[in-house]
Subunit: 238 residues, 2 copies
Protein backbone atom coordinates (compact mmCIF):
# COMPACT_ATOMS: atom_id res chain seq x y z
CA UNK A 1 0.00 0.00 0.00
CA UNK A 2 1.58 3.26 -1.04
CA UNK A 3 0.35 6.59 0.05
CA UNK A 4 1.69 10.06 0.42
CA UNK A 5 2.47 11.07 3.93
CA UNK A 6 1.16 14.57 4.43
CA UNK A 7 2.34 14.90 8.03
CA UNK A 8 -1.11 14.24 9.39
CA UNK A 9 -3.52 11.43 8.77
CA UNK A 10 -6.79 12.09 7.03
CA UNK A 11 -8.05 8.56 7.09
CA UNK A 12 -11.00 7.82 9.33
CA UNK A 13 -10.05 4.18 8.86
CA UNK A 14 -6.83 4.99 10.68
CA UNK A 15 -8.76 6.69 13.49
CA UNK A 16 -10.78 3.53 13.78
CA UNK A 17 -7.63 1.41 14.00
CA UNK A 18 -6.15 3.68 16.65
CA UNK A 19 -9.34 3.41 18.65
CA UNK A 20 -9.25 -0.38 18.36
CA UNK A 21 -5.73 -0.46 19.71
CA UNK A 22 -6.71 1.77 22.59
CA UNK A 23 -9.67 -0.44 23.39
CA UNK A 24 -7.43 -3.48 23.28
CA UNK A 25 -5.11 -1.83 25.83
CA UNK A 26 -8.11 -1.16 28.05
CA UNK A 27 -9.23 -4.79 27.74
CA UNK A 28 -5.75 -5.90 28.67
CA UNK A 29 -5.80 -3.47 31.59
CA UNK A 30 -9.12 -4.97 32.65
CA UNK A 31 -7.67 -8.47 32.63
CA UNK A 32 -4.65 -7.38 34.68
CA UNK A 33 -6.90 -5.53 37.14
CA UNK A 34 -9.01 -8.66 37.51
CA UNK A 35 -5.88 -10.72 38.05
CA UNK A 36 -4.73 -8.44 40.87
CA UNK A 37 -8.22 -8.39 42.41
CA UNK A 38 -8.30 -12.19 42.36
CA UNK A 39 -4.78 -12.51 43.78
CA UNK A 40 -5.71 -10.26 46.70
CA UNK A 41 -8.93 -12.18 47.24
CA UNK A 42 -7.02 -15.48 47.11
CA UNK A 43 -4.71 -14.21 49.85
CA UNK A 44 -7.60 -12.94 51.93
CA UNK A 45 -9.58 -16.18 51.71
CA UNK A 46 -6.59 -18.57 51.46
CA UNK A 47 -8.27 -19.72 48.26
CA UNK A 48 -5.76 -22.00 46.55
CA UNK A 49 -8.03 -22.69 43.61
CA UNK A 50 -8.43 -18.99 42.84
CA UNK A 51 -4.65 -18.58 43.16
CA UNK A 52 -4.19 -21.37 40.60
CA UNK A 53 -6.57 -19.63 38.24
CA UNK A 54 -4.57 -16.40 38.53
CA UNK A 55 -1.37 -18.29 37.79
CA UNK A 56 -2.75 -19.95 34.68
CA UNK A 57 -4.51 -16.79 33.43
CA UNK A 58 -1.22 -14.96 33.11
CA UNK A 59 -0.76 -16.52 29.68
CA UNK A 60 -3.78 -14.46 28.56
CA UNK A 61 -2.02 -11.29 29.66
CA UNK A 62 1.11 -12.29 27.75
CA UNK A 63 -0.88 -13.14 24.62
CA UNK A 64 -2.69 -9.80 24.76
CA UNK A 65 0.60 -7.94 25.02
CA UNK A 66 2.02 -9.73 22.01
CA UNK A 67 -1.15 -9.11 19.97
CA UNK A 68 -1.26 -5.40 20.74
CA UNK A 69 2.46 -5.07 20.23
CA UNK A 70 2.07 -6.60 16.80
CA UNK A 71 -0.94 -4.44 15.96
CA UNK A 72 1.04 -1.31 16.85
CA UNK A 73 3.97 -2.35 14.67
CA UNK A 74 1.61 -3.02 11.75
CA UNK A 75 -0.06 0.33 12.31
CA UNK A 76 3.23 2.20 12.11
CA UNK A 77 4.32 0.28 9.01
CA UNK A 78 0.99 0.75 7.24
CA UNK A 79 -0.01 4.26 8.30
CA UNK A 80 3.23 6.10 8.97
CA UNK A 81 1.76 8.12 11.81
CA UNK A 82 3.40 11.32 12.96
CA UNK A 83 2.93 13.76 15.83
CA UNK A 84 0.21 12.86 18.28
CA UNK A 85 -0.85 9.64 16.55
CA UNK A 86 2.70 8.38 16.69
CA UNK A 87 2.96 9.41 20.32
CA UNK A 88 -0.15 7.42 21.10
CA UNK A 89 1.32 4.31 19.53
CA UNK A 90 4.65 4.74 21.32
CA UNK A 91 2.82 5.28 24.62
CA UNK A 92 0.81 2.13 23.90
CA UNK A 93 3.94 0.03 23.36
CA UNK A 94 5.24 1.15 26.73
CA UNK A 95 1.95 0.85 28.58
CA UNK A 96 1.39 -2.76 27.54
CA UNK A 97 4.97 -3.65 28.48
CA UNK A 98 4.30 -2.33 31.99
CA UNK A 99 0.92 -4.08 32.14
CA UNK A 100 2.56 -7.36 31.19
CA UNK A 101 5.09 -6.95 33.97
CA UNK A 102 2.38 -6.05 36.43
CA UNK A 103 0.91 -9.41 35.41
CA UNK A 104 4.20 -11.09 36.33
CA UNK A 105 4.22 -9.44 39.75
CA UNK A 106 0.62 -10.54 40.30
CA UNK A 107 1.71 -14.10 39.62
CA UNK A 108 4.31 -13.82 42.37
CA UNK A 109 1.63 -12.56 44.75
CA UNK A 110 -0.77 -15.37 43.83
CA UNK A 111 1.95 -17.93 44.53
CA UNK A 112 1.99 -16.78 48.16
CA UNK A 113 -1.77 -17.35 48.40
CA UNK A 114 -1.04 -21.03 47.77
CA UNK A 115 1.05 -21.35 50.92
CA UNK A 116 -0.42 -22.35 54.25
CA UNK A 117 -0.21 -19.88 57.08
CA UNK A 118 -0.84 -20.58 60.75
CA UNK A 119 -3.55 -18.64 62.52
CA UNK A 120 -0.90 -16.43 64.20
CA UNK A 121 0.49 -15.61 60.80
CA UNK A 122 -2.86 -14.53 59.38
CA UNK A 123 -2.32 -10.92 60.39
CA UNK A 124 0.67 -10.81 58.03
CA UNK A 125 -1.72 -11.56 55.22
CA UNK A 126 -4.09 -8.85 56.42
CA UNK A 127 -1.32 -6.25 56.07
CA UNK A 128 -0.55 -7.59 52.62
CA UNK A 129 -4.18 -7.33 51.68
CA UNK A 130 -4.32 -3.69 52.83
CA UNK A 131 -1.32 -2.77 50.72
CA UNK A 132 -2.88 -4.74 47.87
CA UNK A 133 -6.06 -2.68 48.02
CA UNK A 134 -4.09 0.57 47.81
CA UNK A 135 -2.18 -0.67 44.80
CA UNK A 136 -5.33 -1.99 43.17
CA UNK A 137 -6.89 1.46 43.51
CA UNK A 138 -3.83 3.00 41.93
CA UNK A 139 -4.01 0.57 39.01
CA UNK A 140 -7.72 1.28 38.50
CA UNK A 141 -7.19 5.01 38.56
CA UNK A 142 -4.30 4.98 36.12
CA UNK A 143 -6.29 2.79 33.73
CA UNK A 144 -9.09 5.35 33.96
CA UNK A 145 -6.63 8.13 33.25
CA UNK A 146 -5.43 6.15 30.23
CA UNK A 147 -8.98 5.51 29.03
CA UNK A 148 -9.84 9.20 29.13
CA UNK A 149 -6.32 10.40 28.33
CA UNK A 150 -6.62 12.60 31.38
CA UNK A 151 -3.21 14.04 32.23
CA UNK A 152 -4.45 15.69 35.43
CA UNK A 153 -5.70 12.39 36.80
CA UNK A 154 -2.43 10.80 35.70
CA UNK A 155 -0.55 13.40 37.74
CA UNK A 156 -2.72 12.69 40.78
CA UNK A 157 -2.19 8.96 40.54
CA UNK A 158 1.54 9.52 40.06
CA UNK A 159 1.63 11.18 43.45
CA UNK A 160 -0.21 8.42 45.30
CA UNK A 161 2.82 6.18 44.82
CA UNK A 162 4.55 8.01 47.69
CA UNK A 163 1.89 6.75 50.09
CA UNK A 164 2.31 3.22 48.82
CA UNK A 165 6.07 3.40 49.27
CA UNK A 166 5.62 4.60 52.85
CA UNK A 167 3.16 1.83 53.64
CA UNK A 168 5.51 -0.71 52.11
CA UNK A 169 8.47 0.56 54.14
CA UNK A 170 6.43 0.37 57.33
CA UNK A 171 5.29 -3.13 56.52
CA UNK A 172 8.85 -4.20 55.80
CA UNK A 173 10.05 -2.95 59.20
CA UNK A 174 7.19 -4.80 60.88
CA UNK A 175 7.98 -8.01 59.01
CA UNK A 176 11.63 -7.81 60.03
CA UNK A 177 10.56 -7.43 63.65
CA UNK A 178 8.45 -10.58 63.36
CA UNK A 179 11.38 -12.43 61.87
CA UNK A 180 13.60 -11.41 64.77
CA UNK A 181 10.95 -12.49 67.28
CA UNK A 182 10.25 -15.83 65.66
CA UNK A 183 13.20 -16.93 63.50
CA UNK A 184 11.56 -20.25 62.58
CA UNK A 185 8.93 -18.39 60.61
CA UNK A 186 11.53 -16.58 58.49
CA UNK A 187 10.96 -18.53 55.23
CA UNK A 188 7.22 -17.92 55.41
CA UNK A 189 7.63 -14.25 56.26
CA UNK A 190 10.10 -13.86 53.40
CA UNK A 191 7.33 -14.91 51.02
CA UNK A 192 5.19 -12.13 52.43
CA UNK A 193 8.11 -9.70 52.07
CA UNK A 194 8.51 -10.56 48.40
CA UNK A 195 4.77 -10.19 47.80
CA UNK A 196 4.79 -6.80 49.45
CA UNK A 197 7.71 -5.84 47.26
CA UNK A 198 5.81 -7.02 44.18
CA UNK A 199 2.94 -4.77 45.20
CA UNK A 200 5.33 -1.87 45.64
CA UNK A 201 6.72 -2.53 42.17
CA UNK A 202 3.24 -2.55 40.69
CA UNK A 203 2.87 0.94 42.14
CA UNK A 204 6.05 1.99 40.31
CA UNK A 205 4.69 0.58 37.07
CA UNK A 206 1.43 2.47 37.52
CA UNK A 207 3.58 5.58 37.85
CA UNK A 208 5.23 4.72 34.54
CA UNK A 209 1.83 4.41 32.85
CA UNK A 210 0.81 7.77 34.32
CA UNK A 211 3.93 9.29 32.74
CA UNK A 212 3.01 7.83 29.33
CA UNK A 213 -0.45 9.39 29.58
CA UNK A 214 1.12 12.80 30.25
CA UNK A 215 3.53 12.24 27.36
CA UNK A 216 0.67 11.30 25.08
CA UNK A 217 -1.43 14.33 25.99
CA UNK A 218 1.27 16.99 26.24
CA UNK A 219 4.03 15.59 24.04
CA UNK A 220 6.55 15.94 26.83
CA UNK A 221 8.59 13.11 28.27
CA UNK A 222 8.22 13.68 32.02
CA UNK A 223 10.17 10.67 33.23
CA UNK A 224 12.93 11.54 35.69
CA UNK A 225 11.60 15.07 36.13
CA UNK A 226 10.54 16.67 39.41
CA UNK A 227 6.96 16.71 40.58
CA UNK A 228 6.94 20.50 40.02
CA UNK A 229 8.05 20.14 36.41
CA UNK A 230 5.43 17.48 35.89
CA UNK A 231 2.76 19.71 37.36
CA UNK A 232 3.87 22.59 35.15
CA UNK A 233 3.59 20.38 32.07
CA UNK A 234 0.11 19.20 32.99
CA UNK A 235 -1.33 22.57 34.09
CA UNK A 236 -0.10 24.32 30.96
CA UNK A 237 -2.98 25.40 28.76
CA UNK A 238 -3.00 23.04 25.86
Amino acid sequence: MEHVNSGRHISSQFDEELKEVRNAVLSMGGVVEKQLTDAIQAIKASDHELADRVLSNDTRVNALEMDIDNACTQLIAKRQPTARDLRQIIATFKTIADLERIGDEVKRIAAVAKESFSSEQQHLLAALENLGQLVLNMLRTVLNAFARMDAEEALEVHRTDQGIDRQYEGMLRQLMTYMMEDPRSIPKIMDVVFSARSLERIGDRCQNIAEYVIYNVHGKDVRHTSDEDMEQTVRKTR
Copy 2:
Protein backbone atom coordinates in the same frame (compact mmCIF):
# COMPACT_ATOMS: atom_id res chain seq x y z
CA MET B 1 8.98 16.70 4.23
CA GLU B 2 6.83 14.64 1.95
CA HIS B 3 7.95 11.52 0.28
CA VAL B 4 6.46 8.41 -1.15
CA ASN B 5 6.82 5.34 0.98
CA SER B 6 7.92 2.53 -1.27
CA GLY B 7 7.98 -0.11 1.46
CA ARG B 8 11.74 -0.02 1.74
CA HIS B 9 14.12 2.81 2.38
CA ILE B 10 16.59 3.82 -0.26
CA SER B 11 18.22 6.60 1.65
CA SER B 12 21.78 6.07 2.77
CA GLN B 13 21.18 9.00 5.08
CA PHE B 14 18.59 6.85 6.84
CA ASP B 15 21.08 3.99 7.12
CA GLU B 16 23.45 6.43 8.73
CA GLU B 17 20.79 7.52 11.21
CA LEU B 18 19.93 3.95 12.08
CA LYS B 19 23.60 3.25 12.68
CA GLU B 20 23.87 6.28 14.92
CA VAL B 21 20.95 5.07 17.02
CA ARG B 22 22.49 1.63 17.31
CA ASN B 23 25.79 3.15 18.38
CA ALA B 24 24.00 5.26 20.95
CA VAL B 25 22.40 2.11 22.38
CA LEU B 26 25.83 0.52 22.60
CA SER B 27 27.21 3.59 24.38
CA MET B 28 24.34 3.44 26.81
CA GLY B 29 24.99 -0.27 27.28
CA GLY B 30 28.63 0.55 27.98
CA VAL B 31 27.65 3.06 30.65
CA VAL B 32 25.29 0.56 32.32
CA GLU B 33 27.95 -2.16 32.18
CA LYS B 34 30.45 0.21 33.80
CA GLN B 35 27.87 1.07 36.47
CA LEU B 36 27.38 -2.61 37.32
CA THR B 37 31.14 -3.23 37.31
CA ASP B 38 31.63 -0.32 39.71
CA ALA B 39 28.78 -1.38 41.99
CA ILE B 40 30.30 -4.86 42.32
CA GLN B 41 33.73 -3.38 42.94
CA ALA B 42 32.26 -1.03 45.55
CA ILE B 43 30.77 -4.02 47.37
CA LYS B 44 34.00 -5.98 47.14
CA ALA B 45 36.17 -3.16 48.46
CA SER B 46 33.53 -1.53 50.72
CA ASP B 47 34.29 1.58 48.70
CA HIS B 48 31.65 4.13 49.73
CA GLU B 49 33.00 6.80 47.43
CA LEU B 50 32.70 4.55 44.39
CA ALA B 51 29.18 3.60 45.49
CA ASP B 52 28.28 7.30 45.63
CA ARG B 53 29.61 7.78 42.14
CA VAL B 54 27.44 4.91 40.86
CA LEU B 55 24.40 6.45 42.53
CA SER B 56 24.96 9.87 40.98
CA ASN B 57 25.87 8.48 37.53
CA ASP B 58 22.44 6.92 37.14
CA THR B 59 21.14 10.26 35.87
CA ARG B 60 23.43 9.77 32.85
CA VAL B 61 21.73 6.45 32.11
CA ASN B 62 18.31 8.08 32.38
CA ALA B 63 19.32 10.96 30.11
CA LEU B 64 20.69 8.56 27.50
CA GLU B 65 17.45 6.60 27.50
CA MET B 66 15.40 9.74 26.96
CA ASP B 67 17.70 10.94 24.16
CA ILE B 68 17.61 7.65 22.28
CA ASP B 69 13.89 7.30 22.85
CA ASN B 70 13.39 10.71 21.31
CA ALA B 71 15.73 9.96 18.41
CA CYS B 72 13.77 6.77 17.64
CA THR B 73 10.45 8.65 17.66
CA GLN B 74 11.88 11.29 15.33
CA LEU B 75 13.23 8.60 13.05
CA ILE B 76 9.84 6.94 12.71
CA ALA B 77 8.10 10.25 12.09
CA LYS B 78 10.66 11.40 9.52
CA ARG B 79 11.51 8.17 7.72
CA GLN B 80 8.43 5.98 8.01
CA PRO B 81 10.45 2.81 8.25
CA THR B 82 8.90 -0.57 7.51
CA ALA B 83 9.94 -4.19 7.81
CA ARG B 84 13.36 -4.79 9.28
CA ASP B 85 14.21 -1.11 9.80
CA LEU B 86 11.05 -0.64 11.82
CA ARG B 87 11.79 -3.78 13.77
CA GLN B 88 15.19 -2.42 14.64
CA ILE B 89 13.69 0.78 15.99
CA ILE B 90 11.03 -1.09 17.99
CA ALA B 91 13.71 -3.40 19.39
CA THR B 92 15.75 -0.33 20.29
CA PHE B 93 12.86 1.25 22.23
CA LYS B 94 12.54 -1.91 24.27
CA THR B 95 16.25 -2.50 24.76
CA ILE B 96 16.88 0.96 26.18
CA ALA B 97 13.88 0.62 28.50
CA ASP B 98 15.44 -2.56 29.92
CA LEU B 99 18.88 -0.94 30.12
CA GLU B 100 17.42 1.97 32.05
CA ARG B 101 15.82 -0.42 34.52
CA ILE B 102 19.04 -2.38 34.84
CA GLY B 103 20.49 0.98 35.84
CA ASP B 104 17.85 1.30 38.57
CA GLU B 105 18.69 -2.15 39.92
CA VAL B 106 22.39 -1.27 39.91
CA LYS B 107 21.57 1.75 42.06
CA ARG B 108 19.91 -0.53 44.61
CA ILE B 109 23.03 -2.70 44.65
CA ALA B 110 25.34 0.29 45.08
CA ALA B 111 23.28 1.47 48.05
CA VAL B 112 24.21 -1.75 49.87
CA ALA B 113 27.90 -1.05 49.26
CA LYS B 114 27.45 2.06 51.40
CA GLU B 115 26.45 0.04 54.46
CA SER B 116 28.98 -1.18 57.00
CA PHE B 117 29.34 -4.91 57.48
CA SER B 118 31.15 -6.65 60.32
CA SER B 119 34.03 -8.96 59.48
CA GLU B 120 31.78 -12.00 60.05
CA GLN B 121 29.32 -10.59 57.53
CA GLN B 122 31.95 -10.11 54.83
CA HIS B 123 31.32 -13.58 53.40
CA LEU B 124 27.76 -12.47 52.57
CA LEU B 125 29.25 -9.81 50.35
CA ALA B 126 31.56 -12.36 48.72
CA ALA B 127 28.53 -14.44 47.65
CA LEU B 128 26.90 -11.27 46.32
CA GLU B 129 30.04 -10.46 44.38
CA ASN B 130 30.08 -13.94 42.80
CA LEU B 131 26.51 -13.62 41.66
CA GLY B 132 27.34 -10.12 40.43
CA GLN B 133 30.16 -11.41 38.24
CA LEU B 134 27.84 -13.96 36.62
CA VAL B 135 25.27 -11.29 35.88
CA LEU B 136 27.91 -8.89 34.62
CA ASN B 137 29.09 -11.55 32.17
CA MET B 138 25.53 -12.04 31.00
CA LEU B 139 25.11 -8.31 30.45
CA ARG B 140 28.38 -8.08 28.51
CA THR B 141 27.45 -11.02 26.31
CA VAL B 142 23.98 -9.76 25.49
CA LEU B 143 25.39 -6.33 24.62
CA ASN B 144 27.81 -8.09 22.29
CA ALA B 145 24.94 -10.02 20.73
CA PHE B 146 23.12 -6.72 20.26
CA ALA B 147 26.19 -5.05 18.74
CA ARG B 148 26.61 -7.80 16.18
CA MET B 149 22.89 -8.61 15.91
CA ASP B 150 23.86 -12.20 16.55
CA ALA B 151 20.73 -14.23 17.26
CA GLU B 152 22.68 -17.40 18.08
CA GLU B 153 24.67 -15.64 20.76
CA ALA B 154 21.42 -14.11 22.03
CA LEU B 155 19.95 -17.59 22.34
CA GLU B 156 23.02 -18.77 24.28
CA VAL B 157 22.86 -15.87 26.69
CA HIS B 158 19.13 -16.40 27.13
CA ARG B 159 19.90 -19.86 28.46
CA THR B 160 22.51 -18.74 30.98
CA ASP B 161 19.77 -17.09 33.02
CA GLN B 162 18.81 -20.51 34.37
CA GLY B 163 22.18 -20.80 36.07
CA ILE B 164 21.80 -17.35 37.58
CA ASP B 165 18.35 -18.22 38.91
CA ARG B 166 19.74 -21.37 40.52
CA GLN B 167 22.64 -19.50 42.09
CA TYR B 168 20.23 -16.86 43.39
CA GLU B 169 17.91 -19.46 44.90
CA GLY B 170 20.82 -21.14 46.64
CA MET B 171 22.06 -17.84 47.97
CA LEU B 172 18.59 -16.99 49.25
CA ARG B 173 18.36 -20.24 51.20
CA GLN B 174 21.77 -19.59 52.69
CA LEU B 175 20.83 -16.05 53.68
CA MET B 176 17.66 -17.29 55.39
CA THR B 177 19.73 -19.78 57.36
CA TYR B 178 22.00 -16.96 58.54
CA MET B 179 18.98 -14.94 59.58
CA MET B 180 17.65 -17.83 61.63
CA GLU B 181 21.03 -18.32 63.29
CA ASP B 182 21.58 -14.65 64.08
CA PRO B 183 18.28 -12.78 64.17
CA ARG B 184 19.91 -9.49 65.15
CA SER B 185 21.60 -9.34 61.77
CA ILE B 186 18.29 -9.63 59.89
CA PRO B 187 18.07 -5.99 58.71
CA LYS B 188 21.59 -6.14 57.31
CA ILE B 189 21.03 -9.51 55.65
CA MET B 190 17.79 -8.25 54.14
CA ASP B 191 19.80 -5.61 52.31
CA VAL B 192 21.93 -8.37 50.85
CA VAL B 193 18.78 -10.32 49.93
CA PHE B 194 17.39 -7.36 48.01
CA SER B 195 20.69 -6.81 46.23
CA ALA B 196 20.80 -10.45 45.22
CA ARG B 197 17.26 -10.11 43.94
CA SER B 198 18.26 -7.02 41.96
CA LEU B 199 21.02 -9.04 40.34
CA GLU B 200 18.57 -11.80 39.52
CA ARG B 201 16.27 -9.22 37.94
CA ILE B 202 19.11 -7.85 35.84
CA GLY B 203 19.50 -11.39 34.50
CA ASP B 204 15.81 -11.36 33.51
CA ARG B 205 16.28 -8.06 31.73
CA CYS B 206 19.28 -9.40 29.84
CA GLN B 207 16.99 -12.23 28.72
CA ASN B 208 14.53 -9.63 27.45
CA ILE B 209 17.26 -7.91 25.43
CA ALA B 210 18.29 -11.30 23.98
CA GLU B 211 14.67 -11.78 22.85
CA TYR B 212 14.66 -8.38 21.11
CA VAL B 213 17.84 -9.32 19.23
CA ILE B 214 16.18 -12.52 17.98
CA TYR B 215 13.07 -10.52 17.04
CA ASN B 216 15.18 -8.01 15.18
CA VAL B 217 17.11 -10.65 13.23
CA HIS B 218 14.31 -13.13 12.53
CA GLY B 219 11.18 -10.99 12.72
CA LYS B 220 9.61 -13.32 15.23
CA ASP B 221 8.47 -12.36 18.69
CA VAL B 222 9.90 -15.14 20.84
CA ARG B 223 8.76 -13.88 24.22
CA HIS B 224 6.81 -16.44 26.22
CA THR B 225 7.80 -19.24 23.86
CA SER B 226 9.62 -22.43 24.81
CA ASP B 227 13.37 -22.81 24.50
CA GLU B 228 12.78 -25.31 21.66
CA ASP B 229 10.66 -22.84 19.69
CA MET B 230 13.27 -20.19 20.24
CA GLU B 231 15.99 -22.51 19.01
CA GLN B 232 13.95 -23.40 15.94
CA THR B 233 13.51 -19.71 15.12
CA VAL B 234 17.21 -19.01 15.49
CA ARG B 235 18.52 -22.10 13.64
CA LYS B 236 16.21 -21.57 10.68
CA THR B 237 18.15 -20.62 7.57
CA ARG B 238 17.54 -16.97 7.01
